[in-house]
Symmetry: C2
Subunit: 197 residues, 2 copies
DNA sequence: TATTTAATAAACTGATCGGTCAGTTTACTA
DNA sequence: TAGTAAACTGACCGATCAGTTTATTAAATA
């Protein structure tokens, strides 16, 4: 063995970080490995040394993004007492750059044929934790009667999840960060009104 | 003169119809002209006789989809009296196949670099009518006090628009059509609750 | 110091991409 | 029926794609 310094692991991380930026901006299919090479300043051979395919690189990127999102989330959410407060935090997460629009790319990737069933399942499992955050908040809110609804927690979670992820299209409105966050906040307000006690 | 006009127009329409199916399924970048050729059973040369580029074919597809959506909408919406009823119809439109998930593809396309500003503006104008439907309903509801909110009609419309377009990701839940529609309906219910008098 | 091997770079490959083009077919007219 | 123009075809093009090969480097061990 040689070079166990972790230098390689660092390179791998760098590739993934840079790849994430381009995947987010252009989607899976429109992103070329050449582009990733140029942006990361790491040779093609090195990229393929660390990742056996574009697909694997993408999956790794999604996985890391999902993990760090979850970690960042736990860090801030644990300080909040009510489900209502957590929903507003969720809005801020999704409005800010901190969130990973990479989950927005996943459906596009899933649509491109020839994807093995195993890979699809893996992807779903990668996105699951993000959805779970929604579900847990809704469930908590219903349990302690912060929220009241004739609908089940699962449906409500899916609806809120759709709203927050769907709101990424408002990027075309050209709002500044402040106005952008306000829009997300308004979405939460309306939603809360709709299920509040 | 020769070959009575109209025959070509029919072919053009056929190409666009078939292309739409594939664009919807795979997105813009992942769709190849070869695939469109195979699926439409029309030669490559003929496709390029009618459309000067893949981009133009895509824009044409979006335009036609937007037009027919609007026509279909007017046909059914005009029979409804209240804004509330119209929102439920909107939910049905988005839940059913009748809607055009092509508007979901537009952001992906907009992200792929090298798109001229003029083309971007054209695209925004193509999607605008669909958004206008939302805005008009919300505005109508606020005017006749079906809805009550401290937020302006524009923001509310954007939020609802985001919710309904964002809900396309629930396709991965594998629901049947009935359950699918119910989920959309629930979304409208919560939303309505949130802004209702 | 010699050996080992993870790590890197760069040149390369075959397949596929969007797009072109020379030429053919078709349906009409003069 | 010869001529014409719109409609159409399929072979082909250069560019770019994901991925491979090969040679070299540098850091660890023995």
């Amino acid at each position: 063995m040689a070079r166990p310094v972790g230098q390689g692991e660092q390179t791998k991380k760098r590739i993934a970080e840079k790849a994430k930026v381009i995947f987010e901006r252009k989607g899976y299919a429109a992103t070329s490995m050449e582009e990733i090479r140029e942006y990361s300043q790491i040779s093609k051979g090195s990229i393929y040394y660390h990742f056996k395919s574009k697909e694997e690189l993408f999956l790794y990127t999604v996985e890391k993004a999902s993990e760090s999102w979850r970690i960042e989330w736990e860090k801030e959410a644990n300080q909040l007492a009510t489900a209502t407060e957590k929903l507003y935090l969720l809005a801020r997460f999704y409005a800010s750059d901190m969130q990973n629009p990479i989950s927005k790319i996943v459906p596009e990737y899933m649509g491109s044929e020839n994807i093995e069933e195993m890979v699809k399942e893996k992807l779903i499992h990668l996105v699951q934790p993000e959805y779970d955050v929604f579900y847990e908040i809704i469930n908590e809110g219903l349990r302690n009667q912060e929220f009241v609804s004739n609908k089940n927690a699962e449906d409500i979670s899916h609806i809120l999840y759709s709203t927050l992820t769907g709101m990424s299209i408002t990027q075309f409105l050209g709002y500044d960060e402040e106005k952008f966050y306000l829009l997300y906040q308004n979405a939460i307000e309306i939603f809360l009104n709709g299920i509040k006690n």
